[in-house]
Amino acid sequence: MNWPLYVTPAHIVRLYDRFEALDKEKTGHLRPQDFGAINRLAMNPIGDRIIGAFFSPGQETVDFHSFVRILAHFRPADKKHPKDPSMPEPVNSRTSKLKFAFQLYDQDKDGKISRAELLQVLRSMLEMQVTEEQLESIADRTIQEADLDKDDAISFEEFRKSLEKVNIDHKMSIRFLR
């Protein structure tokens, strides 16, 4: 197994403890139900999507390697070492983080956030009082703001552009993964 600088060895130890605690069956893999057991995740509007993000398409289980890899997205970016162009994009770079966020919206993986997909996310994050019309108008306006090539969907580039003012590194980092 290749662990190309995802996390430090200390993190690996802690994460492995957590992995084992989650893996009640001791199969060495995690299934959606194991994630579902985390009580507080059920109270998270996008909890299920996050769980889904751990599973690569077609896979039903997560092994430790993938577990760490996904969590490594949330490391604060390493500003000290300059980016080595020959190495692949580090997992916690701004682009990778944005890609992770993009995938949460783009469930069918066609590279675009369609209006329907955006509606789904909005519906899960907004309270039940909001009517369908209001939801749709919000979704329409969002797409209008971000959609530059007018194809009524948000591609990754448009997504990235709409968030260029946001400090992604700060917003998508967990302290303990430093």
């Binding site: 985390i38 059920a42 509007p45 599973f55 996310v121 907004l126």
Partner: protein, 833 residues
């Protein structure tokens, strides 16, 4: 410009007029009484009232100074207000001195510490952005305590070294005296920091660090001052380890004690506002009186008064803002600002006036210059060192530019001057030198550093406070990020900052709200309703303005085709929660006008688009507001919400329940559609679909969940939660036509007044269901428990019932693996949820 000169002239005349009689009255004394020979019609009563008259006049004069330089706005852009006030103080001082040949008016330490400083500190505490403050409290404490000690020690020792080296000539001082001087001049001054930084608008983290440091370092300053003063009295010979240890202990006592006094008074204020519903007229007054009492009480006990006042304001703001009527809240806010600003003005003017007094000036070039130099140098060194240490632990490290600004922002001010005036002349032969040096330092920092702060900040391209309106995409995405981070922290199981804060939020909701808030305030503590209410008011005012522009508000009624009956649409719950909206914003039909507008605009937006640009703008307005008011607040979001204008958001148990229900329902749906062979919307269901043949077996492994979970101490509450999804997946592969039919009719977005349908089903079906043997054993959630859950979702009681429902689950955990379920068990289980 002519106006400027005119007003200055008037001021000068007034002052001269006053100073003459005052001096004259003091000269002629109070002893002589004139015997009257005839009835006087009018008497000149100056001697009797001269004291309050002078006080009021000086206040007026100081405040008029502000007016003077507002006339020339380009001046205020270059020099900060505080600097200008000092300059005017010099002018006034010069005039008085010229008239009287002695400086009759000076900033007395007692006046300063007891009449001018408390309101500034109270205002600072009351308008402190709590989440930001407590989020950075560690860094603030490091700078305040360690930084100030470092400054004091290095300055004192450096000066002592120079004195030993003879650079200062012959001055009668010693190590302890210099250390004392160092300690009183080392502290960053809150008044000066507020005055300068408010005009510069740096980013919030930088601001809160400098500001928080300036407030909290008072604890250290007071202790150091008293300790060294006592040491000087004792004499150098008597200082041994015991005294030093006592000094260290006194630091903790003073600092912690002061804060505790503040917290106690905060509790008192909150409890008081809970009961003052009927005396709203005088309600705001209590805040001021009790805040001032907290200052005085701490001072009486020789604890840190500034800390006490600060924490009083910091701790009580949330509860009194919730308890008091809106008008009282805005009264308190405005009045605090008036007092604080007024005091600040007076302080700076008098700082200027006090300088024009030859009797206090002793000039020692070396001492003064060395002090200035050392203050500067050691401040920067201290900041860099401490930040380097802190950056090892911070999530967002402070970069070099921010550190530079922080070092440069170490302004000294009136507190140092007040402290130096308190020194006893007999013990400190060089008191006058110290006063002069302090004044020079204050002027230097306030004027020079104040003037150059803005250009420096611009030149260094410091990150400024974000003022731009965020796009919709950014808003949504920010919220998504918050939820994401919370989820990842939960998955990775690490106790981060969020865990402690979560615990605090829980504690707060459970106990403090009950104790300190009125029942109505508790209910309407929801973030949604508050923001909704505020936005409604904002909408209403903008529509009124538009109406006035167009002649009348009739345009609103004509163009809104939907006449929404607010009550019917949202049910009785709403009206109970928003009494203000109901009573205050009544439209002609006893329906809140703004809600009509809010509801009607989207539904007619298609027509509006073509017709009216204005309406389209309000729809845009609308989308932002809809997001603002309706996005779920993640747990972390609750903490980092900083705005001086908006109220804080708290955990919304309604929101939590809604999300939970929805998640469970969606899991069930995806599960069901997987069973039916329908392409599922969610990824998870894809996995389940493939697992179909093994589902029945997996159901068993889930049911053994409580067994393993119980033993797992780390995830005690996960056990209870774990049973939930377990039940969602149980019953796999079992066809229950009744269940299916009900699920099909389920509305994905039930309107608020309906019981969410999956709970309704539970209620309906449990009546004709006989719980099977297995169900009784394995179902942690019996139908009776389920019924207990149903009212939970509609009420706004705290999540006590949630916890209550939780605990029986873990207790009823099974101790043996259940036998395979016979097909008819599906009946009992399909109705759970």
């Amino acid at each position: 410009m002519p106006a400027l000169w005119r007003s200055t002239f008037v001021l000068v005349m007034v002052l001269l007029a006053i100073s003459r009689p005052s001096l004259a009255s003091e000269d002629t004394g109070n002893g002589t009484e004139n015997t009257i020979t005839t009835l006087p019609i009018v008497i000149w009563k100056w001697e009797e009232i001269h004291f309050p008259y002078l006080v009021a006049l000086w206040v007026l004069v100081s405040w008029l100074c502000k007016l003077v330089f507002q006339l020339n706005p380009c001046l205020t852009r270059v020099i900060p207000e505080s600097g200008l006030l000092i300059c005017i103080g010099w002018v006034l001082g010069g005039i008085i001195y010229g008239a009287d040949k002695v400086q009759t008016f000076r900033l007395q330490p007692f006046t300063f510490f007891f009449y001018l400083l408390p309101q500034i500190v109270l205002d600072a505490g009351y308008s402190m952005p709590n989440k930001l403050f407590f989020g950075n409290l560690g860094a603030i404490l490091v700078y305040a305590v360690i930084g100030t000690c470092w400054n004091a020690a290095t300055l004192g020792l450096a000066l002592w070294g120079c004195w030993l080296g003879g650079a200062m000539g012959n001055i009668d001082t010693g190590l302890l005296q210099l250390l004392l001087f160092g300690s009183l001049i080392a502290a960053v001054d809150p008044v000066a920091v507020i005055a300068v930084f408010e005009e510069v608008h740096v980013n919030e983290v930088l601001y809160i660090l400098v500001f928080g440091e300036s407030l909290l370092n008072d604890g250290v300053t007071v202790v150091l001052f008293n300790v060294f003063d006592a040491f000087v009295s004792l004499g150098g010979a008597q200082i041994d380890a015991v005294e030093i240890i006592k000094g260290i202990i006194s630091f903790f006592v003073v600092a912690v004690g002061g804060s505790l006094v503040g917290v106690v008074f905060a509790l008192l204020i909150s409890l008081l506002t809970r009961c003052t519903k009927n005396i709203q007229i005088i309600e705001p007054g209590f805040i001021f009186v009790l805040g001032y009492l907290s200052y005085l009480t701490a001072e009486m006990l020789s604890l840190s008064a500034i800390l006490s006042c600060t924490f009083c304001g910091v701790c009580c703001q949330k509860y009194i803002n919730a308890n008091m009527d809106e008008r009282s809240v805005s009264t308190v806010r405005s009045t605090m600002k008036v007092f604080a600003n007024g005091s600040e003005t007076i302080i700076f003017v008098f700082l200027g006036i006090s300088a024009i007094d030859p009797s206090i000036w002793v000039w020692n070039t070396a001492f003064i210059l060395l002090t200035l130099l050392f203050i500067f140098v050691f401040r920067f060194i201290g900041v860099f060192l401490l930040t380097w240490i802190l950056n090892q632990y911070r999530l967002v490290p402070l970069d070099f530019i921010d550190q530079l600004v922080m070092g440069y922002g170490g302004l000294r001010g009136a507190v140092a001057y007040g402290l130096v005036l308190l020194l006893d002349e007999n013990k400190y032969k060089e008191k006058k030198l110290m006063i002069s040096t302090t004044l020079i330092v204050v002027y230097f920092t306030v004027m020079l550093q104040g003037i150059t702060m803005k250009p420096l900040v611009t030149w260094l391209k410091v990150k400024r406070a974000a003022v731009s309106e965020r796009t919709l995409a950014e808003k949504i995405q920010n919220r998504t990020f918050d939820h994401m981070l919370v989820a990842i922290e939960d998955i990775s199981g690490q106790i981060g900052d969020n865990y402690m804060r979560d615990k605090w939020n829980n504690f707060e909701e459970k106990w403090l709200y009950w104790l300190l808030m009125t029942p109505i305030a508790r209910k309407s503590c929801d973030p949604i309703f508050n923001i909704f209410h505020k936005l409604n008011i904002k909408d209403a005012t903008s529509y009124v303005k538009e109406g006035e522009r167009r002649g009348s508000l009739a345009f609103v009624r004509n163009e809104s085709k939907a006449d929404v009956d607010f009550n019917k649409k949202f049910g009785a719950d709403f009206s109970e929660m928003m009494p203000y909206i109901m009573t205050e914003n009544m439209g002609p039909d006893h329906v809140p006008v703004s809600s009509i507008l809010r509801d009607s605009v989207p539904s007619v937006c298609l027509d509006m688009h073509e017709q009216d640009l204005k309406m389209r703008e309000s729809e845009d307005f609308d989308a932002h507001h809809l997001l603002q008011q309706h996005l779920y607040k993640g747990r972390k979001q609750h903490r980092h919400r900083y705005s001086r204008k908006h109220l804080e958001v708290n955990k919304d148990e309604h929101e939590v329940q809604e999300i939970f229900q929805r998640t469970m329902r969606s899991r069930l749906e995806s599960f069901k559609s997987a069973k039916m062979g329908v392409a599922p919307p969610k990824k998870i269901s894809k996995h389940l679909k493939k697992d179909q043949p093994q589902k029945v077996r997996e159901a068993y492994t889930f049911s053994s969940f409580p067994l393993f979970s119980e033993g797992d101490s780390a995830s005690g509450c996960e056990a209870a939660g774990g049973s939930f999804p377990m039940r969602a997946y149980r019953g796999a592969g079992i066809v229950n036509p009744a269940f299916m039919a009900e699920m099909d009719t389920m509305d994905p977005m039930p309107p608020m007044q309906q019981i969410p349908s999956w709970l309704a089903e539970a209620e309906v079906d449990s009546s004709n269901m006989v719980p099977s043997q297995r169900a009784q054993l394995t179902l942690p959630w019996t139908p009776s428990n389920l019924r207990r859950l149903a009212p939970l979702c509609l009420s706004t009681h705290s999540n006590d019932s949630f916890l209550l429902a939780d605990s029986p689950a873990t207790q009823e955990g099974i101790s043996e693996l259940p036998p395979p379920p016979p097909p008819q068990d599906g009946q009992g289980q399909g109705t759970h949820k």
